[in-house]
Amino acid sequence: MKLIADNISKTFFRDTASSNYFYAVSPLSLELSPGTVTVLMGRSGSGKTTLLNLLSGLLEPTEGKVFLDDTDLYSLNDGELSRLRNEKIGVIPQARSVVDTLTVMENILLPAALYGKPEAAEEVRQWMDTFEIAHLAGAMPRELSGGELRRVAIIRAIVQHPVFLFADEPTGDLDDENTEKVLSALRACAHEQHMAVLIVTHENDAVKYADRLLKMEKGQLSPKTN
């Protein structure tokens, strides 16, 4: 199974009253294959997050198509696309992304609960032990720090067992020890569970976990050379 972005771009209008628009993502093509870790680096505002949203089915491109095998993602209706994302695509957003009215455990099991899938509670507990938040299973999000909430989002995405895992600054709030744990876990997801992992990050340490390095600058993608 491959994810192929075919000449996709995304423009936004700066001023809705005029035709003054800009390319957040310039026309580009990209292929993601399972079993690989792709690290995407770039400055703030270079279009990394927008590209991630385009690839993960969250934002329709202005031009071009995104194929998951032979399926054009954005030709599906909302119900089909939502189900596909739940089954095949995991996303770890940069911002806080938990439901405040659910406990930590309920947040992690949310993707499975939405479609009535069996809950992998044991696997969840193992990951929570790995990331040292097992004692917070019954806690509410308001009781957790930013770093702890990020680890919750990471575990939620991993236990979804997606084919494609997109992580936007997954180590942003974490200390060195947990940063290493997260990056190791993402690499294990790629190499052992055969996921295609795309990590957007500023962390130079992430480079050593990458099978492929890419750079984004002013909406344009290129391989990173150093």
Partner: protein, 400 residues
Amino acid sequence: MKMLPLSVKNLTRKPGRTAALTLLTAFLALSVFGGSVVVLSLRAGLQSLEARLGADIILVPSEAQSKVSFQNMFLQGTTGAFYMDSSVQEKAMEVPGVEKVAPQTFLASLKADCCSIKIQVIGIDPARDFTVQPWIARSLTGELGDMDVAVGCKVEAEIGEIIRIYEQRCKVVARLEATGTGLDTAVYCNMNTMNTLLAAAEAKGISHKIASGDDSVISAVYVKVKDGVDIDRVNSALTGHLRKVTAVRTRSMITGVSDSLAGISRTVTVMIVVIWVLALIILLLVYLMIVRERAREFAVLRLVGASRSMLSRMALLESALCGLTGGIAGVALAAIGIFSFSALIESSLGLPYLTPAFSTMLALAAGAVLLSAAVSALASAFAARRLSRVNPGTALREGN
């Protein structure tokens, strides 16, 4: 996906927000149920009054304070005692068009030992009476004997109990069904008993003798007009034929009450409409404000694969649950208030007031609850649509 557990968790874990929405819908249900019960009770009271009056015309002495006072005996149970010669009955029968007549005699007690206020005693001729007797017959098998009394439902005296009126021992043989009128506070006896009580009152210095000094007195004559005969014509004929007697058309009493009822009904309806419009506007505004507060939450749900229809369903379910809970609470509060204070409501309105049957109340309650739930869901529909269309990429951007 079972949205119900998620909706319930969202509601129970945000108690402040849920309480505010529930309170609003409780107010809606309370106003509809409470207002409807009051209006229906007034209508039932009016129908009961019509049935109790029975006669087409009531003859009373001209000295009777005023028609309004006489009317208040039926509406509010205020006591009254006025007398005329008993020959009025025979003279009334002489008027063409009169089918039958029945006398009643009124006496106000000083106070019976059952009550710390005056009560109305009404003497009837059980053989001839066609207004009160049919109602008494529903609660009493057999005749109303000498020194036996039947009490209205608002007189707290048990069957078999002896009550004293002007020191005379009277035995309670029946408690009558509610009519919602002033007749519920009266005590009924036959003419022999009434004559004994009149004599006892005389001994206490309360004179019932009319100017002629005649001992044989009555207070009112109920007249039934023959079918097909013009009641107004008979009314005029009676007025002309009888001296010092006023003929009261019962229709005019009922029309007066009916007009008051229509006025109250209109007022209650307007109040309910105003409350609903205001509450609906507030609900709409609150749900729109909630959109901003919950955009991130819905974005997370979209992120993990919830479809728009799932999210719409969840939002609508939450608002319907709020509405249902609020509806039940509102109806319960209204019911507690109305039934606990029904006597106060009745006396404040000054109109016949008879609570509808239990099945009617249950239907009203169910209707009010369902209406609240439906309106709550409707008010949230726009907000639900907006929330289901939230873009996770935009909503979850850092700093949002």
